[in-house]
Assembly symmetry: C2
Homo-oligomer: 199 residues x 2
């Protein structure tokens, strides 16, 4: 995410594709197909929508070919299928962990809880410091297991789909473990939170 991009927002009613839309839209005045893909209007719509979306927080780890542990905090983890058990996460191919993800056979996907906020921040911080500390230990295949998470899954990477400078990674789950009971960790409006009241 490029946090330094703050495009202008258009809030007047606009006509797109021959249909007059309701007030308050961010649609460009010209048809979307003609728009520059990097123009502010599509990015503004994207940023406003994802600001209103809450996401669970996970952490992905693996080993670089030289055995160095690597990993990162992810808000893109999603279930793809239960049988076979498949999960996906998204990442930038410019990320520090990408080279390891391209070479790795397996990853560990950790679900983070309220007590893991420091792990979430550590694995989103400077990449050389992400595994300095006693918050992890080597697990199956020597892969880094983060300590104190609510659960983790080990899986084999079955697809890496590049789209522009990003990638969708598909993982087939092979096993895992559970940690202590804890509330799920969320990221919403640039703040770590726990789930609240039922609606």
């Amino acid at each position: 995410m490029q946090s330094n991009v703050e495009p202008q927002v258009t809030t007047r009613p606009v006509s797109v594709g021959g249909v007059t839309d309701s007030p308050g839209t961010l649609l460009p005045a010209s048809p979307p197909l003609a728009a520059d893909p990097n123009a502010p209007d599509d990015l503004a719509a994207f940023k406003h929508a994802f600001r209103r979306h809450a996401a669970g927080v996970a952490a992905i780890t693996t080993l670089a070919p030289d055995g160095t542990p690597v990993g990162f905090t992810a808000t893109s983890l999603a279930s793809l299928s239960a049988v076979p058990p498949l999960a996906t996460f998204n990442m930038a191919r410019s990320a520090s962990s990408w080279a390891a993800i391209t070479a790795a056979e397996r990853v560990v996907i950790h679900m983070l809880g309220a007590s893991n906020r420091s792990i979430a921040e550590k694995l989103a911080g400077p990449h050389l410091e992400r595994f300095s500390g006693d918050h992890w230990h080597p697990g199956p295949y020597g892969l880094p297991i983060l300590i104190g998470v609510t659960s983790w899954m080990i899986g084999r990477i079955v697809e890496r789909v590049s789209v522009h400078n990003n990638a969708v990674v598909v993982v087939q789950i092979e096993g895992g473990g559970m940690g202590a009971d804890d509330q799920a960790l969320l990221y919403h409006e640039r703040t770590y939170r726990v789930p609240g009241a039922a609606v």
Copy 2:
């Protein structure tokens, strides 16, 4: 998700890949690579982990080739990239909306808020009833826009990646609109919730 599958859970310490793991794991006693991909252990790990993960709730709509509105509630929506603005969602290729998604050029991705619980339930219910009511109107390109959502994005499908009987769909956002301010809608532990306290 197959909710009728309730595998047994192994909680004794096990040895995998030559490494003795900590107590409480769900790893199979045999190496994961040798395991049947549909065996209970991998599915148990997957199910336990995703039960501990909270997800934001979105709704995806499009038009079938005959002009019929179709759509579904999704907990797999994720950001892939901001420049260009790309989002992903996952679905089963056995879903009622899949045929329309394979044919459609564009979809609308709606972010749901606390006041949209009934829309979330409607679009997860019987597919012939999902658009019976006044909770939507035709928007750009005639695509169904759900009314009262916190925001929506219209985008062009740029990739459909099939994995087993499922698919990852990649959408490039072209524009969108914002609704009234509302709390984000979450799905966690089979319950619709709003985000709670910061941690």
